[in-house]
Symmetry: none
Subunit: 746 residues, 2 copies
DNA sequence: ATGTGGGCCTCAGGCCGACAA
DNA sequence: TTGTCGGCCTGAGGCCCACAT
């Protein structure tokens, strides 16, 4: 048993623990926040900051979400099965503790999977009583001490410790024809004691002291559902709820047990991840990726499509986002993958259609009297999508050259107009809370679009305006709006829907695919900042057939049904779907062949709201940011190591000579990894860094200190209740409004 | 897995289940009520009928007791360990459902331990891989099919089924020098598969179809505390509470898992047992017996003394009766026995002092002015004990010949006076609710003692009267009252207390022991009905030294402090302590040497309140009752079998020829067993009947039907919050008042 | 009557290379 | 490179009785 106190993350065998837990395990760092959901149940735990509005039916004291501070973690392993689990003491967050929370949300780096280990899934021969264990050659050479090949045969005794510090001894011999590494004596005892069967896995780890650690990982054979000898699962479940509710009500800590292999990534969710997910606009037909563990203890992403959005249990847990997405998988191995996921499980894959509303907003049903049509539709729709741009963004005087036939403003104009103002990009993948933006908007007379939307279009538009502004206030989304596909097409089957949409395209004779297809990147390049090189990076990294877009046409799920009906609510959270930026505008064409592999993020230029910058970053293109400079996208895989990276970054940001030395006191490089931890660049092996870096910041030493104190890394997100129809988003705004302006102006 | 629907109690292997669960297991019959406490925790579940007043601190929705109807029972056995447990669906009882409850409380007979079985604790040799299983000779001859001894050696194949219907095959051989029964082939597989170790037990059962059943029972080696892989025990516990509270609040059923071996008799308590326990007046120094399971799967009673009464957890579970009794054990093996028990775990051993108030009511402290003394004390005290008798019961004209020096009425006179009135005794061990009695009193002008208690004794008595009547109304006790010793002597250590009491006896020069001692049974016998023979029964069955009473002097814990102070509340629940009846009055002397083995019950003649009859039954003397006749006590062990019993009963009740034939339509014999189940006499083997019969009723067929429909067996008890000081007893009155008259007059 | 231990047999367990995927 | 098989050996498992309690 390993007890980690707050702040302590490194401990005996925690490496082994993490190895056994698997590559997808991400224990939230101590001091961070977690949103916690019970395992294996359709229900979700409760106690949001707005818990007064978000109750679980029939459990009046149980809120639907619980945001907690993680006090300490105790790592356990089942004495019989070696099943790993973490005991976590959680402190529900008082709504008034927000500042403290933000400050504490800078997690410490957690132990990762050890670099020196191997994991083998046991074969029938490995587990039969008849023989020993066949060690994969590379694994043996990498992990085991080298054999004395002068011996005949070469052999040695291996000693390894498991999670309980039990010592296991094996005879390691290199023999046979052809020669191979085998574990003989001692192996069968291990197998029978641990009750291993073919399909289970063993891990051998060589730690930094060259000691062998030994772990097991069970195959996903259905577990005996817990020993039910005492208490029903219902009671257990209610127990979690009640413990959480009680803790929330009394502001007292409570304890949960988190089994990362039984409930990978679902049970405990780092708040940042949860918040990020709240940005994601889900809709029927949306494409996404999701990570899965491979047999060999690696990870792989699988592509899928959202085929439905519905409550897992409409009666008891209405409007719960817990596994409310029904999904289909691209590959035939999909049987092993879940048919329902939660929004925080997936990585959306973008398609461009959300910024091309007309074909979809065009009604499939007979137009109703008084409804705006065609071009005005488009303009209004786009205004609705980005209302803060107001008239000022030039919709009228700059008909889009990107999408002929669409009255779409060029955001390049917009960007050009403001390029002289210093700005930074808000940290990827977290977006500055919209409430900040809203407050900033309200404080700047020249961009009071909220109150000054044009009314020239007549009463209908005026209605839209009020809808939009209300929604803006209500939802706190600072970036974009989408019609709520979920509420409209809740149970609309994908094929039918797709067909209908394609038909509507044809009916309107919009040369949609062709237009996108025909975009010449060159003609757009000239307006970016140094984006030529970036684009070339991208183009050399990605091939693919532009016609792939055809396959992606199915993606958007916004129904034209909802268009033009003022009281249909707009939903926030299109950040991942709308993408216009210095590099992003170039991607009108790239989207066509990169949608399968790219991921987009919406960025807001934080310093001044009229400098709003919306950016795109692929998974390989990492945003690099420096206060006072415009963010840049780089492909870290193009570099050989840290030196090369530092050199190029120094060149890019004009600070040659001040960045190359890691010890330099002028600037520090920090990065955000895939778990939203903020880490110093250079600490990790280069390969590991490349594999997990999400974005890089160039900070002054002062900024680093400030960051540590205040957590000002943009780890504040705008929630999005997405398409499942909850209405709890409003309360978040209040949460952030009170302090966001202050933190914004820091 | 065996699922028993409501009403179904007999099912495949339920016999085996009960055998494995052990002799102390008593699953409440379907349709009965249970009070349910969580296992292994200091806390208790909640939701009494008066739940509005009895909240668990900090869980405002959780009441402290939950009275439920048991809907159905599913018998389980752990697939790995064969650990048996029952899954029970409980329906909390709506306070207005009382009638339904009473009607449903007639349980069906549950499966008992099979008669034909043996249980052996495994030795080291039995479990070693080296050899087989040595079968005890008698066990083999009793359970296994007979061997063909013409074979050399005699051997056969045994096939037995376990709880999961798995079949196990063993070679049964009779060999060795000396010859013995052995299980060889197949045994070691069984041992290793079931993971049995020395100290565990195996059971072989031969069912009625002569099929072999095979069960295991684990030694009490500490279990791995549940697999904690998911959830903390805190959460689980709270889960039970919350599930129960939620169910109570919503009047919805919930499920519990009851492991009878992990929590014998504590976890689920049949309501009748609980109610009966509520009658028990506990006090420091009180002697009791408690049943424990023996190694060989039998039961044994151990004697103990109550050494303390205190909350197990004074902070969280104040005034909980859950293991609030601290006890000491008579035997040196006490280390294995619990130091804390609950009132329902024990069987009190009676002493006569509660009906002999003077020595104890006589103040140990200086008498206060205005207090009555001596004879008037005694009379008043006795009136207080049985106020409903009023003046009419002849206190004045019949000075007691039983206890010289005490102005105690002879209840024999009382009985004689009313013997012409038909009456029945209320079923043992349950007493007709006093509220019924009170209402009956009110409805009969000639016995309106409640409003017409004599006031001739002056203002003090009048005060007492009001106290008593108030208390009568408030507590619903129909039988007797005791001063609440617990509130006064809560932490009074036994030795000091005992000494003090004995001193007070001497100081007052009351020839107390001697008086009881010197009673001549013969002089009393003449007034009984046929009690001569009964007494002879008793005398021949019980020997012993009359001076044993000295050892029992320590028992009563009523403080003289409280005497004469009208506003000190009387506590109900002396039913087991007060004992006067046609046979009982004879026991003044018998008590002296039978207190260690006898158990007394208070009986009330239900039909007419002025026919109140208080009876004594020892564990061997069973009350036999017949509507229209006075109850009788018999010693069933004196009979050889059912025929003899029926003959004698027919003779006793003057229905010769109408009872001897079990198929007779005139009268039916039913009996109440030690689990309060009501069963037909004759269904069980005679020995089993003898071992578990508590009382017998002679009913007409019509009564049997009526009983089944209405549950009119008096399974309604007067609660006693005993000495732990809760004040929730009053609420029970409300529970019964509203319907008791109706049910009484049925 | 029954728990334990020694004698002795036998086959499951376990080490080996052959072979094939 | 490594999964599985047959060969072959050995000792744990298992049946027996003797002996002791």
């Amino acid at each position: 048993m390993v007890v980690l106190e707050a702040g302590e993350r490194k401990s005996i065998n925690s490496e082994l623990w993490h190895a056994c837990a698997g590559p997808l395990v991400s224990l939230p760092p101590v001091g961070s926040l977690v949103v916690y959901f019970p395992q294996g149940h359709s229900e979700q735990v409760a106690a949001s900051m707005q818990k007064e509005t978000d109750f679980i039916p029939s459990y009046p004291n149980l809120p639907s979400k619980l945001i907690c501070m993680l006090h300490n973690v105790t790592l356990h392993a089942d004495s019989e099965t070696d099943e790993v689990y973490a005991q976590m003491t959680l402190q529900p967050v008082n709504k008034y503790d927000k500042e403290a929370l933000l400050a504490s949300d800078i997690g410490l780096k957690q132990s990762r999977q050890p670099a020196e280990f191997f994991c083998k899934t046991l074969t029938a021969s490995d587990t039969s009583t008849h023989g020993g264990f066949s060690v994969p050659r590379r694994a043996a050479e990498k992990i085991f001490p080298p054999l004395d090949f002068s011996m005949q045969p070469p052999a040695q005794e291996l000693v390894a410790k498991d999670l309980h510090d039990n010592t296991w001894t094996f005879r390691h011999i290199y023999r046979g024809q052809p020669k191979r590494h085998l574990l003989t004596t001692g192996w069968s005892v291990f197998v029978s004691t641990k009750r291993l069967f073919a399909g289970d896995s063993v891990l051998f780890i060589r730690d930094e002291k060259s000691q062998l650690l030994l772990g097991t990982r069970r195959a996903n054979r259905q577990q005996p559902a817990l020993s039910l000898s005492v208490i029903s699962s219902d009671s257990m479940h209610i127990g979690i709820l009640a413990a959480a509710a009680h803790a929330a009500a009394n502001n007292s800590p409570f304890t949960i047990f988190y089994n990362p292999r039984a409930s990978p990534s679902e049970f405990v969710i780092p708040l940042a991840k949860f918040n990020k997910a709240m940005y994601t606009q889900v809709s029927l037909g949306m494409r996404f990726r999701m990570m899965f563990e491979t047999e060999e203890s690696g990870v792989r992403r699988y592509m899928g499509t959202i085929t439905g959005i519905s409550d897992l249990d409409p009666v008891r847990w209405k409007n719960s986002q817990w596994r409310n997405l029904q999904v289909g998988w691209d590959e035939s191995t999909a049987g092993e993958r879940p048919s329902r996921v939660s929004i925080w499980d997936i990585e959306p894959v973008i398609t461009p259609f959300y910024i091309c509303p007309p074909p979809f907003f065009r009604p499939r049903f007979p137009k109703q009297p008084g409804m705006p049509d065609d071009e005005s539709d488009i303009e209004n729709a786009f205004k609705r999508a980005m209302p803060w741009l107001g008239d000022d963004f030039g919709m009228k005087d700059a008909p889009s050259s990107i999408f002929p036939g669409l009255s779409l403003v060029s955001s390049l104009n917009f960007l050009n107009k403001n390029q002289q103002v210093p700005s930074i990009l808000v940290s990827d993948p977290l977006v500055e809370p919209a409430s900040t933006l809203v407050q900033e908007l309200q404080s700047k007379p020249d961009i009071r679009i909220k109150h000054e939307l044009p009314t020239s279009k007549g009463p209908e538009l005026s209605k839209y305006k009020s809808t939009v502004t209300d929604q803006l206030e209500a939802s706190s989304s600072g970036t974009s709006y989408c019609l709520d596909a979920g509420t409209i097409q809740h149970n609309f089957s994908l094929p039918t829907f797709l067909e209908g949409d394609l038909q509507s395209h044809s009916r309107n004779n919009l040369p949609f695919t062709a237009n996108i297809d025909g975009l010449a990147p060159d003609t757009l390049l000239s307006r970016g900042y140094d984006s030529q090189k970036d684009l070339q990076n991208m183009l050399t990294n990605y091939g693919g057939n532009p016609r792939d877009i055809d396959a992606e046409l199915s993606t958007p799920a916004i129904s034209s049904q909802s268009f033009g009906v003022p009281n249909i609510p707009f939903k926030t959270g299109c950040s991942n779907d709308v993408a216009i930026s210095d590099t992003g505008v170039l991607n009108g064409g790239l989207w066509a062949n990169q949608t399968q592999r790219m991921r987009t993020y919406t960025k807001a230029l934080g310093s001044f709201p009229h400098l709003t910058c919306i950016g795109i970053a692929s998974n390989l293109l990492k945003l690099v940011q420096k206060r006072g400079s415009v963010g840049r996208s780089i492909d870290v895989t193009r570099y050989k190591g840290y030196d090369e990276l530092r050199h190029d970054l120094a060149r890019m940001f004009g600070i040659e000579g001040q960045l190359e030395d890691p010890q330099s006191s002028d600037w520090k490089l920090v990065y955000v990894d895939h778990e939203n931890d903020i880490l110093l660049v250079g600490d990790d092996p280069w390969e590991e860094f490349v594999s997990c870096v999400q974005s890089i910041k160039i900070l002054s030493s002062g900024e680093v200190q400030q960051m540590s104190l205040e957590g000002d890394l943009g780890n504040v997100a705008v929630p999005n209740q997405a398409c499942s129809g909850t209405d709890s988003g409003n309360a978040w705004r209040g949460q952030y409004d009170d302090t966001s302006a202050a933190s914004f102006n820091r």
